[in-house]
Symmetry: C2
Subunit: 220 residues, 2 copies
């Protein structure tokens, strides 16, 4: 969840985190052939003031049109340019379990310019068998794949006991970004971009809010 990397500390983190959500909303509007969208409409999806939306958008450099709002298509493209998701990013995925398979088949990744090039697993039983439109490869093929396809990202959906070892392997081969789904905190060098997803964190926060709202109903 947190990029442990101080390199990029000087940009508005909170703003940045909202931007992919704008893109998601804009994609939906584009499908409905909406031409314009206002900051007020976008603010409706978040707990923030509409001014904040305009500040976020100004980060990308895109300009709106008074009285109309922002061009859905124009803003969508501006966000794509800003986030670099019109760039093509290549990834390998490690760990062909249920979560790995879910990611392989997840429609959303392609929308964000992320292409999974190959899938690896340590389990000899799985190697060679198909998952999505891939055949699962042995880790021994990893150096060749990384070199041939100029892979930038490794997605880790391995069990947490294996995660640090796989992380070390891929960073040693020059991978510059790790997207970690295993529920533990990996340690990586300062030059590696690390992003941790913690699915259970979502469960924990829901639990907290539920508890709070129950107390509201009972208490004063």
């Amino acid at each position: 969840m947190y990029a442990e990397n101080k390199l990029f500390k000087n940009l508005p983190e909170q703003y940045l985190k909202r931007i992919p959500f704008y893109h998601q909303i804009l994609s939906e509007l584009a499908l409905k052939n909406e031409a314009y969208v206002s900051s007020r409409y976008l603010a409706g999806f978040f707990n923030v003031d509409e001014t904040q939306i305009r500040k976020d958008i100004s980060l990308t450099g895109y300009k709106g049109k008074p009285k109309y709002g922002y061009s859905v298509q124009g803003l969508k493209e501006a966000i794509e340019a800003y986030l670099g998701i019109n760039y093509h990013n290549t990834a390998v995925l490690f760990g062909a379990g249920k979560l790995g398979t879910a990611l392989i088949e997840y429609e959303g990744l392609a929308d964000y310019g992320l292409e999974i090039i190959a899938v690896f697993d340590n389990n000899p039983v799985k190697i060679g068998s198909p998952v999505g439109h891939f055949n699962i490869l042995s880790p021994s093929a990893l150096p060749r794949v990384i070199r041939s396809f100029d892979i930038g990202i490794a997605i880790l959906t391995v069990p947490k006991t294996a995660a640090q070892e796989v992380c070390d392997q891929v960073t040693a081969m020059g991978i510059k970004a790790i997207w970690n789904f295993a529920p533990l905190q990996l340690s990586v060098g300062m030059d590696v971009i690390l992003r941790n997803e913690n699915l259970a964190a979502g469960a924990a926060l829901l639990s907290y809010y539920l508890k709070k709202s129950n107390h509201r109903q009972e208490g004063p």
Copy 2:
């Protein structure tokens, strides 16, 4: 990602978001039989000062021990009490696709007190077949299950075309919290707690950081 609910606006959102991660780290330390942990050690996992960690922890009311730090077990339990994850929360899961199956088998949820009670899917072909240790149920069984088991949470792993409809159904039956994995923004009443996961947002941010770090290497 954002709870659209203003009810709880008066607590430190950013602090709260870090707390589940502390719990994750503490669980690892507990496995290693570590007795104490310092705020400095915890700060090493985040981009924040160690003082901030102490502020976060003080939210839970737990007190550390000068010179030693915090008791791993004690703090872990305090966080569990604070988040309500020692409470037992019950959920139904909608959409027995790859992602749904991954969640059903995800070890972490039980750690956070979330028990999935039943799994539903609209697809007649799937109904009756097993997934994990569940049999997939028809949505027609939903009212009975919700009443019998006092279900609080609905987990939505359905395709985005179906998500709003399912959301409306379950909230009409009294579900008070929605954990949405479909890549769209749902609309819900003010009394429903909504948490959106956007897996692709992680991809978008990685892409952004990768682009930035490439520019660093090329530019001044």
